[in-house]
Symmetry: none
Subunit: 223 residues, 4 copies
DNA sequence: GATGAATGAGCCTTCATTCAT
DNA sequence: TATGAATGAAGGCTCATTCAT
């Protein structure tokens, strides 16, 4: 609170003006991250509505209004969860898209990557939290995030159909089938069960089987 | 409400003394159903929390406290949504379980049936509403509902592994993969898109492909 | 609130850094007391049910939810009224119990003390508010408070019977007779009538007369 | 309401007009009494506020709106409880007032009579229910009832002081002391404890002792 | 940056009472 | 007379957010 005076007493003026500012920026970013992660975990554990700002603040050993130093509102925290989740997924999908492989292989890689993401906090937030809690403006952003992911996955699939690695199928429904399997991971995954990689492999095996062209289908299409 | 005409058509004036009582019972049951269906739809459309009793009452042209003639509390409505959803699913699964078919075929039938259910109000409620809104007592019931469904599906799968119609696989993960695909339908289904039956067929085709033993696998495993 | 002036008078500007914290604590305790006293008075004046939190808040120039900074619920306020009343009574009875006097004298002292307490807010709360408004948990506490007081008074009476200062009588009924007279004060007392001390003397005189052994009974035992 | 027609159709005109009317009047009065007694007991057992009309109706095997055939409102029931209580007390006091006895004896008789009344439903209602639940109009009536009783008792006491049977004392406080003891009975009396008569005797003995002039005071002043 | 205190808005629920039948 | 259904009014409580310090 009245740290100013104390700093004058204890501090070294040079450090007080320069270093701390950088440090503070780091500290500030770290704290913001800590707040968000705590929020994300509580949102997942209890639901967004049943998590109040006091819950979050208490677990961070600060008080409710202190949260407003880092986020302008509760729904901004929620939006950030979605944004980070989307960012992670997007990053993986972009990488896969650029790889010079068949559509089937892209889908397989996506499954493995996305399965792993579903076992992370922000990944799970993307599929378990309800964007309708957001105000109109940010709501639209999140919906765009989700459409974006969906479209990209559809592109993998339709690319596979075109390059012959994937059977002719209803791209939209197929995409939904894959996405549903994967999203569900966010609901049931628990650290003490099967490992994220294990889950990714198994899901890739199961889901790819229904897509691969017979002739090109190895016994285990994910190897 | 518009019973008058119907009474004139069907009714016998002599029965007038008795019938009203029966009719009232029907009316009451009908009204309760109407309340619940409206509640379910609003819960799905806006989320449970963002739906207040006024919303429900207004759309029914009654006032908020009138709802308490039919349900003791808001969360009782929510529980009933889950209960009806579970009831429908259970009914289908029981029928499938009794059929003298291979495990693979049971899974295929389940996929078609469950896909259809996901396109109904109470079916979607089962997977889209959050049971954690419920008080402890009924929360446990709903969790038991969900475990029950999960166990039954696992039995279909493990039965198929045992009878040789399904490849050796991680039963738990496989069940999750199937359930996830299907549950997701409740989130994206819209009446103007693909028909429930169409969805069921496509999903059966895709999901079964990864399970069927090669030799026994026809081109379209669900025929 | 009007601490400003007082601070100017009493305070030392140097202490300003520390004192506010202490002062705030005091303020907080003071405010809590003020809330409770206002609540107690309204409960007495209008009855617990007919007093709503708005009534209390308005008279304190705050808003209804601000009350929740000090009490977790309306019934917690009620319980505190009972608790403080009990505390005051208990304190007096404990002191009397320790005094090296006859049972009769203890009863006489109790009458005077209790009569005075009945003319205070929390004292009157003990006998005029209905503990059945409380939830099960705290209800039992209050009933224990009341049983406690009753038992202690019975002990004074039975002690007097044993030490010969009080005639043989039905201890239970006698205790009820005394307690009833005294409790009733809480219902009729008004500041502009007889003074608390006056009431205590008169009641002691009247009530003791029926208890004292003849030989030891002065004409007016309270003079 | 629109029974007229049906009566014309089904009824026998003679019976319908004469006998049933008397019978119905009796029935009606009986039912009204039953309603009131049930209400009184619930008011005492749970408090007026916590007793809702459903509670009363249920215990009578009728429905809530049926109560409105007998009483215009809930507070009319409450008022009737007070009125009956007052009536009973008044009746006894009037009888005592007319008896050619000393003031002391009148007080003694009053104590015995009132103690008994406190063990009855409507007697207890007089002292345990809160007249402030009533609307302004009837509230004033009940307050008048209570003042009336108070005045009459004061008259007994002051009469006794004048006729020399009672010591000089503060008539008002003395009356309060007696009334308080007696009213309290309504709060603690239970059928399985001391009998009403027993209580009356004991209370008369205790309370009279402090009033009787020494010379005229027999060992047991109430004989 | 951080805090204690306060607020406004909103929501579920209760209940006496009314009304058509 | 009696009932099922509905209503208006009110009350306790929660919580994100603001503000002075």
């Amino acid at each position: 609170m009245t740290q100013g005076p104390r700093k004058l007493i204890n501090g070294n003026e040079n450090e007080a003006v320069w270093k701390p500012i950088k440090e503070r920026r780091h500290e500030r970013a770290d704290k913001k991250s800590a707040v968000l992660r705590k929020a994300a975990r509580l949102f997942l554990a209890q639901g967004y509505n049943r998590t109040n700002l006091n819950d979050i603040a208490e677990q961070l050993n600060i008080t409710k209004p202190a949260l407003y130093n880092y986020f302008a509102s509760k729904d901004e925290m929620l939006f950030e969860c979605f944004r980070l989740g989307h960012e992670m997924i997007l990053h993986q999908m972009a990488e896969i898209a650029e790889s010079p492989t068949s559509g089937l292989e892209k889908v397989a890689r996506f499954i493995r990557a996305y399965a792993r993401l579903m076992t992370t906090d922000y990944g799970a937030c993307m599929v378990r939290l309800d964007e309708r809690e957001l105000p109109a403006r940010t709501l639209e952003h999140v919906r765009a995030f989700k459409r974006d992911i969906d479209h990209r996955l559809r592109k993998f699939v339709s690319g596979g159909v075109e390059d012959g690695s994937i059977i002719r199928c209803d791209v939209k429904l197929t995409t939904f089938a894959i996405a549903g399997s994967l999203n569900w991971i966010g609901h049931w995954y628990k650290p003490k069960g099967a490992s994220p990689d294990r889950i990714g492999e198994e899901f890739a095996a199961r889901l790819i089987a229904g897509l691969a062209q017979q002739q090109s289908k190895p016994k285990n299409p994910t190897q």
